[in-house]
């Protein structure tokens, strides 16, 4: 799987973070199952079946099972420790934009607690898929004044937010971002 398909950014974390260690299944969805996809599981099942045979001594079976589980967990473990956006060395940096966007949206509405709809009573214009559940969490029990509007551009998680009059703008419009 090419490196860019693994969970690389905070946006990827929100969209795909819990669907797999990397986003393998979602990115390949709809394509036919190839031999290279199925082969690792088949090999693992065959090895596990051989280890479970009564011909294998109990001590060897225990060691074999341990080695099998440890070796098979290595690719995923490596991705967790060194590749994913939420790897230990990058965890704070990956979660900070999510917390910042949430706080910016939550602090914006002028009318407290007017529950109505997934975004409270706020108008949200969003070009940012990963921002959708964050906005829902921030606004679920919030209300906005009629003239208030929240605009979430595609790079909202990366670029942060600013208040422009009655509008909260997060990220930059496409023409502002340049090529």
């Amino acid at each position: 799987v090419p490196e860019e398909l693994c969970i690389a950014t905070s946006s990827d974390l929100v969209i795909d973070g819990a669907n797999g260690v990397c986003a393998d299944t979602r990115h390949a969805a709809g394509q036919p199952l190839s031999a290279s996809t199925v082969a690792p599981l088949v090999v693992l099942v065959v090895i596990a079946a051989v280890l479970s045979s009564r011909k294998v001594a109990r001590a060897h079976r225990a060691a074999g099972l341990g080695v099998l589980l440890a070796l098979a967990a290595l690719p995923g473990g490596y991705a967790l420790l060194f590749e994913r956006a939420d790897r230990p060395s990058n965890l704070a940096a990956a979660t900070a934009p999510i917390a910042a966007l949430h706080e910016a949206i939550r602090d914006f509405p002028a009318v407290p607690h007017v529950p109505h709809g997934p975004h409270g009573t706020c108008t949200v214009e969003s070009a940012c898929l990963a921002c959708e559940p964050i906005a829902r969490l921030a606004l679920i029990d919030r209300g906005c004044a009629p003239e208030q509007e929240i605009v979430l551009h595609a790079d909202a998680l990366r670029a942060g937010c600013r208040v422009e009059g009655a509008r909260l703008r997060c990220g930059h419009a496409a023409e502002e971002r340049g090529p």
Binding site: V1, S10, L13, V14, G17, A18, N19, G20, V21, C22, D24, T25, R26, H27, A28, A29, G30, P32, L33, T37, V38, P40, L41, L44, V45, A48, A49, S52, R54, R58, L65, G66, L68, L69, A70, L71, A72, A73, P75, G76, G77, A79, L80, D86, A92, A94, T95, I98, A99, H102, E103, P115, H116, P118, H119, P133, I134, R136, L137, I140
Partner: protein, 434 residues
């Protein structure tokens, strides 16, 4: 740091309610003192289940209170006095150590939700912070805009209580983390007290599943549901072994499963049915009928919790957005099955655990004395496929686009690990018997 300590007041209250219930039912005096950790988690489970039942509908709460009392006082009677625990206290110590390590891993994570569904679940919990019944009121309001509509409310209500009804991000994340820790503690302590399961193998299989470590640090519900499913299976297995200490957990676990997620009720029913399958030997084998009563009770309770909520939704005019049957579709099953296969082949997410579970389940069905566990696992998969065959297009779409099966398989990893652990112990027993 994720503030898991915020859950302590709610856990103490739940524990007090559960202890009072068992005391009133005359159960407590019969337990062995060494069982303190299991007693504690059983009391918390009773209290949490009663709280969730009251939130779903006060009438359901009253009914569950009466049913729990009768079950503890009369239903478990033939299994008492309790057998001498078959496991050493070292097993309990190891279980507590595992829970402590998991707690540490969650506590040291930043208190920020990172996954889509985690954010969605926390938004429900945030509504629940306005009071115990606030989430039910909002969910039953057709104009309330709780998206997706019609979902069970147990997780949000419980999570809000565990976050001390505070609505800031840190507290909400702490409440969700506490729910994961609670589920892990239930599973670990029930496993520690279960006979004829290799606990080392179970922990090894779970720990060697990389996706478990991803979910451990999130407030996603898949891992808690999976841990409670496995705990329920072991609890009902305890009923067959005549171990009332484990059997008393079946009722609260059924309530919690049915109120956390829709598939939770399905799992509870499947496991209860599987636990009634005949075993190859007559050892203990619930001759007093406790196992039959426990299984029926689990089925009735799980369906009641789900049914009461569905009836309330229907009366309020709220559509179950993702859970209304769309009619049988054979054609839709092709992509669904293909993506199930793809998810099972995702070695980066599941390591070798699914391969070991498949082999362990086949071995247990062929040779072991615990076929019920293996059939429960197979039954959960078949029931999910059947539900998708008649299920709504939205959930079929989740399955066909690769976002449903990885999490579904993760839910079954703890039960699968128990199957491998039971198969392992059975193979040793067979070898010892010559």
């Amino acid at each position: 740091v994720t503030p898991l300590w915020l859950a302590l007041p709610a856990l103490v209250v739940f524990c007090g309610v559960g202890a009072a219930l068992e005391q009133l039912a005359g159960v407590r005096a019969r337990w062995v003192p060494r069982d303190a950790p299991l007693d504690g988690i059983a009391w918390i489970s009773h209290g949490a289940a009663l709280y969730v039942a009251f939130v779903v509908h006060p009438g359901l709460g009253v009914a569950l209170l009466a049913l729990s009392f009768l079950w503890l006082r009369r239903g478990l009677e033939p299994s008492m006095p309790d057998p001498v625990p078959a496991t050493s206290s070292a097993a309990v110590t190891v279980a507590l150590l595992m829970v402590a390590l998991a707690t540490l891993a969650i506590a040291l994570s930043p208190p920020v939700p990172i996954a889509w569904d985690e954010l969605v679940w926390l938004s429900r919990a945030r509504v629940g912070t306005a009071g115990p019944f606030a989430l039910a009121d909002r969910a039953l309001d057709p104009r309330g805009g709780l998206v997706p509509s019609g979902y069970p409310i147990g997780a949000g209500a419980l999570s809000a209580a565990l976050s001390l009804f505070a609505d800031d991000l840190r507290s909400l994340t702490g409440g969700a983390g506490a729910l994961v820790v609670f589920s892990g503690a239930v599973f670990a302590l029930v496993l520690a007290e279960s006979k004829s399961v290799s606990r080392r193998v179970v922990f090894a299989v779970i720990a060697a599943t990389p996706l478990v470590w991803v979910h451990l640090r999130t407030g996603m519900l898949d891992l808690p549901v999976g841990l409670l499913v496995a705990a329920l299976a072991l609890s009902l297995r305890g009923a067959r072994e005549g171990d009332a200490r484990l059997t008393r957990l079946a009722l609260p676990l059924a309530v919690l499963l049915a109120s956390l997620k829709d598939e939770g009720a399905m799992y509870a029913v499947v496991i209860a049915i599987a636990s009634l399958l005949p075993r190859s030997s007559s050892r203990a084998a619930g001759k007093d009928g406790t196992d039959l009563r426990a299984s029926i009770l689990v089925i009735v309770t799980a369906l009641s919790v789900l049914g009461v909520w569905r009836v309330r939704l229907a009366l309020a005019g709220v559509a179950a957005e993702h859970h209304a049957p769309a009619g049988f579709s054979f054609a839709a099953m092709g992509p669904v099955l293909r993506e199930l296969g793809r998810a099972a082949c995702d070695v980066r997410s599941f390591g070798g655990s699914l391969a070991v579970i498949v082999v362990g389940a086949v071995m247990l069905i062929r040779k072991g004395d615990d076929r019920a566990l293996a059939w429960a696992l197979a039954g959960c998969i078949l029931a999910t496929l059947a539900a998708l065959a008649i299920g709504p297009d939205a959930v079929r779409s989740f399955a066909a686009t690769g976002t449903l099966w990885p999490r579904f398989l993760l839910q079954l990893v703890p039960l699968g690990a128990v199957v491998v652990g039971a198969g392992w112990r059975a193979s040793i027993q067979i070898a010892a018997d010559g």
